[in-house]
């Protein structure tokens, strides 16, 4: 029973650590996790940086259709980071803190689903 990341290269050294984002060494622009080529200048010389755990809720919806890994109803949305990019994520409810655009959200690193014998580790967001 091993822990495998949602995607290779998503996390810093520790799988339960945090996400990596990038700063382009050529043009200094900030780039989201899993970027390989800078979308501003197309350099591959990217410096990995640890991504903070806080962001603002940009948009969200509650899905009434099952997805491959999540049973309906489940809520998903985009989280906007101060670094200037947005991440799509499953959202966790917190009692008394209904989702709304602009809500301060924090990342939690946890198992998302099982893949055979392994646990797939990824992220969700919930209201702070």
């Amino acid at each position: 029973m091993a822990k495998v990341p949602l995607r290779e290269n998503l996390f810093t050294e520790k799988i339960d650590g945090t996400l990596k984002y990038y700063k382009c060494k050529s043009c200094k622009h900030l780039l989201p996790p899993l970027t390989v080529t800078c979308q501003y200048c197309f350099s591959n010389d990217l410096e990995p940086m640890p991504l903070g755990k806080r962001g603002k809720l940009f948009a969200f919806t509650t899905n009434n259709l099952d997805s491959a890994h999540f049973k309906a109803p489940f809520t998903t949305g985009y989280i906007e980071f101060p670094e200037g990019f947005r991440l799509f994520s499953v959202l966790e409810k917190v009692e008394g803190k209904p989702f709304k655009i602009g809500l301060e959200m924090e990342m939690v690193i946890q198992k998302l689903w099982d893949k055979g014998e392994d646990e797939v580790i990824g992220y969700k967001f919930r209201p702070v």
């Binding site: 899905n63 890994h69 998903t76």
Partner: protein, 384 residues
């Protein structure tokens, strides 16, 4: 985009198959039905068609264009399939337009066909990327697009539900529409919730269908009609990186494709008489109208409620009933739009006729690509 000298190109024949759940037919039968209708429409002898572009998004068969064309007697000529998700049909029409305009062909046929009941897995269209794994789907994206618009401009879900009311009403007048039922606002809002706040009646239905358009160079048009409908512009732009997305209701490829098409046609959005645009989700219609510059950002919802985009409004949008009432066999829709606009410009659109329609704009946008705002937006403009 480089400007090149082009011959004038007219639409001389259009046709479509029945749209709806028709699993017994399959891609070839649907495509053939549409081509035969277009051929009959202009009375052309098929061997005079110089080439075919066949748009198709889902299928496991090779040389689909050839399989369809041979059913109408077309062999031994230039032929290829194109795929561009929802903009596939638009792309096929564009390729035929340029093949004729640049002098490669005199007459060409574009056919778009998809059989969603037989060629697609069940469930919403989901990309095979990290966001898809995390539960992102087209309806989810549409729901959030709507939410962002509502949030910024003080609109409500009612305005978006009204898109569905309008388009289903238009569809009820269209003998080709998959759904000919009229729905009230309450019925649309009260339908089964898909992705909050998008309901079942705000999502275009799974459908099978095909449409075909035959285009002709200016010097041969007189053989077919004395009142041609000219195709005067075409644009096609692929999606920009997600990183540069301004917001979910703003499509930069839509804005750019519109601007390019208007410039090529020598018109502005104020000159448009009738529009067929991509309304796979009721959420899409208002942002797309604004992408096209038909009204200012944030004004679309109010104008829609005032009837501005109704059949008898200032700028009728989706007089056919759109994808919501027609269904959306992906690659057929862009060609179906050309058929619809041609009928209006000829005065042949029956009960849903837009009066004195002279300039029609067809817009399609779609495609799910990880890291991009979308696949492509294509615009074709016809003019009498």
């Amino acid at each position: 985009m480089r400007k090149i000298p082009l011959r004038r190109v007219a639409v001389i024949g259009v046709g479509m198959s029945k749209f709806g759940k028709q699993p017994e037919k399959g891609l070839v039968a649907l495509g053939t039905e549409a081509c035969l209708a277009a051929i009959k429409d202009c009375g052309i002898v098929p061997k005079n068609i110089d080439g075919v572009y066949c748009a198709n998004a889902f299928g496991d068969t090779g040389c689909l264009g050839q399989q369809i064309a041979m059913q109408v007697g077309l062999v031994s000529r230039e032929m290829a399939r194109v795929e561009n998700a929802c903009a596939g049909g638009t792309t096929a029409v564009r390729e035929v337009f340029y093949a004729i305009g640049t002098g490669r062909w005199d007459i060409g046929m574009a056919v778009g066909v998809d059989s969603m009941t037989t060629c697609m897995p069940k469930g919403p269209i989901v990309a095979k990327d990290i966001d898809g794994d995390l539960g992102l789907s087209m309806p989810a994206y549409g729901a959030m697009q709507m939410q962002r618009y509502i949030h910024k401009y003080g609109a409500t879900v009612k305005e978006f539900a009204q898109v569905s009311v309008k388009n289903h009403f238009n569809g009820s007048l269209n003998p080709y529409a998959m759904y000919k039922k009229v729905f009230t606002l309450e019925e649309v809002l009260g339908a089964r919730m898909i992705c909050e706040p998008l309901t079942q009646l705000m999502v275009s239905p799974v459908s099978d269908g095909a449409a075909a358009a035959i285009l002709c160079a200016e010097d041969k048009v007189k053989q077919f009609t004395s009142k041609p409908v000219w195709m005067v512009a075409s644009s096609l732009i692929s999606g920009d990186y997600t990183l540069f997305a301004k917001d979910m209701d703003i499509s930069t490829m839509g804005e750019q494709a519109s601007a390019e098409a208007y410039e090529m046609a020598g018109i502005g959005p104020k000159d448009i008489d009738v529009v067929e645009l991509h309304d796979a989700f009721a959420a899409n219609e208002i942002p797309n109208i604004e992408d096209m510059g038909i009204c200012k950002r944030g004004e679309g919802a109010r104008l829609l409620m005032e009837g501005y985009f109704d059949l008898n409004g200032k700028v009728p949008v989706n007089p056919s009933g759109g994808l919501l009432a027609q269904g959306h066999p992906l690659s057929a829709s862009g060609v179906r739009q050309i058929a619809e606009l041609t009928w209006h410009l000829r005065g042949q659109a029956g009960e849903r006729q837009v009066k004195s329609a002279k300039i029609g704009v067809a817009h399609m946008e779609g495609g799910v690509v990880s890291g991009l705002q979308g696949g492509a937006c294509g615009i074709n403009i016809v003019m009498r």
